[in-house]
Symmetry: C2
DNA sequence: AAATTTTATGAATCAGTATTCAAATATATT
DNA sequence: AATATATTTGAATACTGATTCATAAAATTT
């Protein structure tokens, strides 16, 4: 019996994220992913069934992490709804700030995964439901405007975050991450219009 | 001398939008675009240099329209900054509400165009500068919180709109367009947090 | 140290599709 | 109605790159 050395599965996935980020999913070549992960092309197919599987696994890992963080957050009884939303923004920024390539892939390729009805990204819908629940609680508790549509809000906020992350991944210097984070929080908390 | 009949250039571009929306840029086949526009494959190449050119032209037209609308809006002296932002949201929704395929392409494929340094989409940057100028004026005039970063705001808001349009293009029934429009306006005007 | 089993390799295969271009067709001109 | 010119066609081409699989290498067992 021979035993696997290193962690090729992980190496390959991390290389895939880098290559997907740099070239886009369709521009990414399996040969390049193999090279980046110091593995032969054939080995890619020992750990992942094909190129699409690599992309799906990237998103599964991501949404699983995001969901776990959100779940821990949602259960905190010592946080108000406002604080939960505040920390939810941190969850996103924390995950992506340590991996800008992941942010790029997230922003640009998510629709490829979502468009395909054959693949169900686990944890994605769980994440969304739980995020909506927080907003809904806020409306019941009176801290969030009850006239706003929960789903619309959720998409709007996540879309805004997504776009900012894209900008940051493309040009990290243009708007520093902490600035983005604070701006989003301010907009969500106080709204765009300044009232004295 | 023979004269061109119909408007193949337009027919082709409209077919391309439909096919790009349905299959994504990379999933879209030139043969399908030819079929949809009632033209032979060869004819596509008489009007557009290649597949990428089709995509670029879609975005050039789009940003040109958006820019023209915004310019007219920005020049209105009878509108306050707040009203201008309000109408800016209408500009987006008006253009896309009559063409959901265009919304889908806009949301999903913009990064392909932006990633390529060889193509400069005309009017895109003009649009963005002008949009930032409105926000900036609002800050100078005191109606917008001066602590907010103009670029960050611009990306956040457009990202939110983009995401909502994506949802609408995928599932038009989930959140009706007027609801989306009003929600965005409320969030921008009053902020997420409800104050009595 | 030979045999066995698992893991890894990468050249060759194969399928898909954007693009080309020689030929055909339609309109206009003489 | 013959000629000239512009427009259109779509089968054939050319290329790219994902995937396969016969072979090799490494670890483990006997």
């Amino acid at each position: 019996m021979r035993v696997k050395t290193g962690n090729k599965e992980k190496d390959i996935l991390e290389a895939a994220i880098r290559v997907f980020a740099k070239n886009g999913y369709h521009g990414a070549k399996m040969a390049k992913i193999a090279e980046e992960s110091n593995v032969s092309i054939g080995t890619l197919y020992l750990y992942y069934v094909n190129k699409e599987d690599l992309l799906v696994k990237v998103f599964e890992n991501l949404w699983k992490s995001l969901y776990n963080e959100l779940e821990a957050l949602a259960n905190r009884v010592d946080f108000s709804v406002t604080e939960k939303l505040d920390h939810l923004i941190d969850v996103f920024f924390d995950i992506f700030s340590s991996n800008s390539d992941l942010a790029t892939v997230f922003v640009n390729e998510q629709h490829l995964v979502m468009r395909n009805p054959e693949v169900q990204v686990m944890y994605y819908h769980d994440f969304m439901s739980k995020a909506e629940l927080i907003i809904y609680d806020g409306q019941k508790g009176g801290s969030i405007n009850p006239n706003l549509n929960v789903k619309a809000l959720r998409f709007f906020i996540l879309g805004g975050i997504r776009n900012l992350l894209e900008v940051w991944a493309l040009e990290p210097r243009l708007i520093p991450l902490p600035i983005m984070r604070n701006n989003i929080k301010t907009v969500i908390k106080n709204g765009l219009i300044h009232k004295n």
